[in-house]
Amino acid sequence: MTAVGPTRRQRYEARQRRRSVIIATVSTVVVVTLVVVLVPLTSGWDRVRAAFFDGETFRKTFPQLPGRFWYDIQIFLICTPCIVLLGLLIAFARNVRSPVLYPLRLFATVYTDVMRGVPMILWITIIGFGIPGLIQNRTWGKAIIWASVALVLAYSAYVAEVFRAGIESVHESQRAAARSLGLSSRQTMFHVVLPQAVRRVVPALMNDMVSLQKDVALVSIVGPIEVLRQAGIAKAKFYNFTPYIGAAILFLCVSIPLTRFTDHLLARERRRMSGTAVR
């Protein structure tokens, strides 16, 4: 006989779920209330509010920011495909087994170590100011171009490691199956290994892209008036830090959706790999 309506266990599960939701809601409300009540009671709150959260300054300065932020987005959009392409090439170079190409492999290994071993802001300063000093040319000597190149070079080292991990995660038996059909090692890489590797590393790549989207602001140190520098100018003009809050809001508008999307991809990947979650 089939039961009508939920079983005793289903009712129990539903009760448990309701209970969790109620507890989560109550604890969130309590914490938020405490923050809202307690922070204004600190002795410096009035000064901090005037310096960072001044409505008047916000109204005057914020309209100039989105246009400058578009500059950051453009750098991001141009750098991303370059990074993915270069990262892939370096990952290949680290995987070559032919002895003739050993120097290439060595170079790729040193490259990823050096590029990841120095803070991004140093690369942007060194390359962004150094290369234009060498070139002395109006078009190609622009600091912003070379600062972007620095972003591409450094990020491609991180992305290369992600791709390499993905390539190595494809099981040897897949390679054996492809080679047993008579496919060459290159055909095996392009038709069998790489498509599976890329699918696996998309979430990790997205994480790097979220970081890149924020690190683009670092190019401001070589001079272009993008959103961070524009906020700095406004700060100097109004003697107020509120423009920085405006810039932060703009970054959040892009990075939060990107992060949520990445989490969604990660969760989907985890479900695919390991079945249902355990309580």
Binding site: S173, A176, A178, S180, L181, G182, Q187, V192, Q196
Partner: protein, 247 residues
């Protein structure tokens, strides 16, 4: 006497200190079906992988139609195109549909046009009763269906020799039958096959000759009747007794 399809002499394979194949001699004539039996680690799978050049050998020769394919430095890809291999764990490409799994070899390794490769693959899939699954991905298929697709993938290369490496060991018992039926069909069509297997009843029924491997050597070989009914070696008797006890 005609040259055998495959002539193996003194094959040695070591993994570090461990000798896995210790001087294997074996002749396979065209159309012959040979079963390799023996306990796990006796070298059955390694022998098949060596014949398909997936593992380099340390000594000995493997002649395919009189040409030594184990000679170092010889390109392996043209040899592999002539030899089909089916693995215990299927090893289908999970990111491709069944049809693309079967057409990948003919298209990329043989350079067939897409239309021709599709026609050949659909013909094969029809023969094994899986034409309706052509556009499914492997994870939507049962283990038995996946293994039949893996066999079709190897057959699509129109190989001269098939190597089957414990093709039913990863299957649920009720799915073993459909795969063995397909192997029987291949025999009927005259395919030359080397079969590593734990299915003794099947080995007895399908083989022209059965080889018992022990510690990297072929300890005993002969017709299925001889090996199963009247084994000469003590080790063979022990092995068969253990299998019967388990069954």
């Amino acid at each position: 006497m005609t040259t055998p399809k495959l002539r193996i002499r003194g094959i040695v394979k070591r993994f570090g200190e461990r000798t896995v194949l210790d001087g294997i001699d074996l002749d396979v004539t065209r159309g012959e079906v040979i079963s390799l039996i023996g306990s796990s680690g006796s070298g059955k799978s390694t022998l098949l992988r060596c014949i398909n050049l997936l593992e380099p050998t340390d000594d000995g020769s493997i002649e395919l139609d009189g040409v030594d394919i184990a000679e170092p430095g010889l390109p392996a890809d043209p040899v592999r195109r002539r030899i089909g291999m089916v693995f215990q764990s299927f090893n289908l490409f999970p990111h491709m549909t069944v049809l693309r799994n079967v057409t990948l070899g003919p298209r990329k390794a043989l350079g067939l046009a897409a239309g021709e490769a599709d026609a050949r693959a659909l013909d094969l899939l029809t023969r094994i009763g899986l034409a309706d699954k052509a556009n499914e991905y492997p994870d939507r298929l049962s283990g038995g269906q996946q293994q039949r697709v893996a066999i079709a993938r190897a057959l699509a290369m129109q190989p001269e020799l098939m190597l089957l490496d414990e093709v039913t060991s990863a299957l649920d018992p009720e799915l073993v039958g459909e795969v063995l039926d397909l192997v029987r069909d291949l025999r009927t069509q005259g395919m030359t096959m080397l079969i590593a297997t734990h299915e003794m009843a099947f080995a007895r029924e399908i083989s022209d000759r059965v080889c018992f491997l022990d510690a990297g050597r072929i300890l005993e070989q002969g017709s299925p009747q001889t090996i199963f009914a009247n084994p000469q070696q003590e080790r063979t008797r022990e092995f068969l007794q253990r299998i019967i006890d388990l069954g």
